[in-house]
């Protein structure tokens, strides 16, 4: 279903959602850094820049309690988290690269054992995507088969119009419900034209060829060459919309505290370090190889999906200039 909404009415929609008690998460500038964060007023939304971190944290926070414990004499009292802590949420202004990562993440959190921390938030969230009208040199969504107008992952998708306002397309029941609940804010027609989409220069990589090379080249000196400069800071994983590796740690004293699930990164040496001192990935190139393998082979082997949406954040933040797009492109020509 296609509709239109004016800039002003989008703000009214956000205000009404906030007033109705929903959590509205959208790009907003926090101390100079654009991030997907809960809004307290619609005016805080700032759609100009791609947020520094991805939208995954609306479902999979940087760090969250998974239980709490309290020791009483010889006994321990365990407390589960309160499911009410996951509020009904509308995630607005999500870039196509971020929205597309969410159905990819659904696979790992819902196969076999169900991770309710992720899935409950997912169930209670409506995703409003936003077509990209600007890009930079690091953007490579087109390289992995997506585009500035990819609607994957979006329940409702907004395409900016010349002179303001948006085309709204619905892609799920959740999206349709959002429009029908606030139908007075939407109109059927408009004379305005959509803004030109961002241009992403990367050609589409042949991901089948990439995978075929990865299938046969776990051992290859190529890995040393590309990752010898990696300092193992983990920044690439932390800004990635699809990276989902996590740690489980206790925080607090022996008597009382929380067990928490927090983001982790395969670039850290400790990630696979055994207590015995043995480390199967003892050198940085082996750890970087795992990053590429996980994204373009293992996740494909397991879930038939690619664990990368070409947002380019890892390229922007890498302190030593490692460029995953160049690497994948190179591999595709091997």
């Amino acid at each position: 279903m296609q509709n239109f909404i004016s800039e002003q009415n989008l703000n009214v929609l956000l205000e009404q959602l906030i007033k109705s008690g929903k959590r509205v998460v959208a790009p907003r500038v926090n101390s100079g850094t654009p991030l997907y964060e809960p809004l307290s007023a619609s005016g805080e939304m700032d759609l100009k820049e791609l947020p520094r971190r991805s939208a995954k944290e609306a479902f999979f926070p940087v760090c969250e309690d998974i239980l709490s414990y309290e020791k009483v004499g010889l006994n321990v009292k365990l407390s589960d988290v309160d499911p009410a802590r996951f509020p009904e949420t509308v995630l607005v202004g999500v870039r196509p690269c971020d929205a597309a990562a969410i159905p990819v993440l659904d696979a790992v959190f819902s196969w076999d054992y169900k991770d309710q921390f992720y899935l409950e938030r997912r169930r209670k969230t409506t995703i409003v995507g936003l077509a990209c009208t600007s890009s930079d040199d690091a953007c490579f969504c087109s390289g992995v088969g997506l585009s500035p107008s990819t609607t994957k992952g979006s329940d409702l998708f907004l395409t900016p119009l010349e002179g303001g306002g948006y085309v709204c397309e619905t892609y799920s029941q959740k999206g349709e419900d959002l429009v029908s609940n606030y139908k007075e804010l939407f109109v059927d027609t408009t004379s305005a034209k959509p803004l030109p989409l961002a241009e992403v220069r990367t050609e589409t990589f042949d991901l089948k060829k990439v995978k075929a090379w990865l299938d046969n080249n776990f051992e290859n000196s190529y890995w040393d060459g590309i990752a010898i400069s990696c300092v193992g800071c983990g920044a690439c994983a932390f800004v990635c919309p699809a990276c989902h590796c996590f740690d489980i740690v206790d925080e607090g004293a022996e008597k009382k505290g929380q067990r928490r699930k927090s983001w982790d990164a395969c670039g850290f040496w400790k990630f696979t370090h055994h207590a015995s001192g043995h480390n199967p990935r003892d050198l940085q190139p082996k750890r970087y190889r795992n990053r590429i393998m996980h994204k373009f082979k293992y996740y494909d082997d397991k879930f038939s999906q690619t664990l990368c949406t070409g947002c380019g954040r890892c390229i922007r933040v890498c302190p030593v200039g490692i460029d995953i797009a160049t690497i994948v492109e190179e591999i595709s020509h091997k």
Binding site: L67, K71, L74, H273, H294
Partner: protein, 280 residues
């Protein structure tokens, strides 16, 4: 499993017994505090669990007791890391927690009617002990049972009480060995490395399954011996251990190539292990 349950929530257990196996290796016998869990908890030999010490975190071990012995589970560990050191500080009657069982298991039904050759080194006996005890509890279902077990020194052998029992039984052939220099004047076992002693023991590969657990160096030198003895790679089983956190196929660190030890393992055949990249 309930769809809405918190998969990271463990079950509380009480430490019902503590056995010091060696100077630094300890076994806990654990009893579930919730009666319903005690009755319903079941597992298969080879599966692992996540053990909690509150305030320190979780650690992964195999379940070392046999599934045929209900009412409790056991874990055996060496205090080498932060969590295992905290485990060592717990006392009889203390509360800790367990979630599991996780992972695959030994396909024990496929071993019915076959001879079993267990080969273990040092602290790696626990993943085989669960299976050995399971088989001994169903002794008539299996053929000959041979156990070749070695450690650096006599003091490093774990489950000494069970070794003594197994030594007494006429339906088990137990060959104990210590590395050269690891024997005392009263040592009655063999002296030599496990691969050498296994070759000397020369169990028949005919209608036999080999089950192998030990440090990587022992595995490396034992596999060719088993091959020379005539064991095919499909008839040799081992377990892999990689650092784990969730145990549920989500946290992303235990993989060996595209194989997740927590879900696809920890039990693998030698053929499967040989096909993996060296990432364990």
């Amino acid at each position: 499993m309930c769809e809405n349950e918190n998969i990271y929530l463990p079950n509380l257990v009480t430490i019902a017994d503590i056995i010091d196996e060696t100077d630094d290796v300890r076994t806990f016998r654990l009893i579930f505090q919730d009666e319903a869990v005690r009755d319903s908890f079941s597992f298969r030999a080879g599966q692992f669990a996540e053990y909690s010490v509150f305030g320190a975190g979780e650690v992964t071990f195999c379940i070392a007791s046999a599934p045929t012995r209900a009412g409790y589970i056991e874990c055996t560990f060496r205090g080498v890391g932060r969590v295992t050191e905290s485990l060592r500080n717990l006392e009889l009657g203390d509360t800790m927690a367990v979630r599991g069982p996780y992972g695959n298991s030994f396909p024990i039904e496929e071993f019915y009617g076959k001879n079993l050759v267990f080969v273990a080194g040092g602290i790696a006996l626990p993943p085989l002990r669960t299976l050995i005890c399971n088989c001994l509890d169903q002794r008539d279902k299996f053929g000959d049972i041979t156990i070749v077990y070695g450690a650096r020194t006599e003091a490093d052998l774990v489950y000494k009480r069970e070794l003594a029992e197994w030594q007494e039984r006429s339906d088990i052939r137990l060959v104990k060995t210590v590395d050269p220099g690891g024997e005392s004047s009263t040592w009655s076992g063999k002296v030599g490395f496990v691969p050498t002693i296994l070759e000397e023991t020369a169990p028949s590969a005919e209608n036999s399954i080999a089950l192998l657990c030990g440090p990587p160096i022992m595995i490396k030198y034992t596999l060719p011996v088993l091959e020379r003895l005539g064991f095919s790679d499909d008839h040799v089983y081992t377990t892999l251990e990689n650092r784990m956190k969730c145990g549920l196929g989500k946290c992303g660190r235990c993989n060996v190539g595209n194989v997740y030890v927590c879900k696809d393992g920890p039990v693998f055949t030698a053929r499967q292990v040989k096909a993996m990249p060296l990432e364990y």
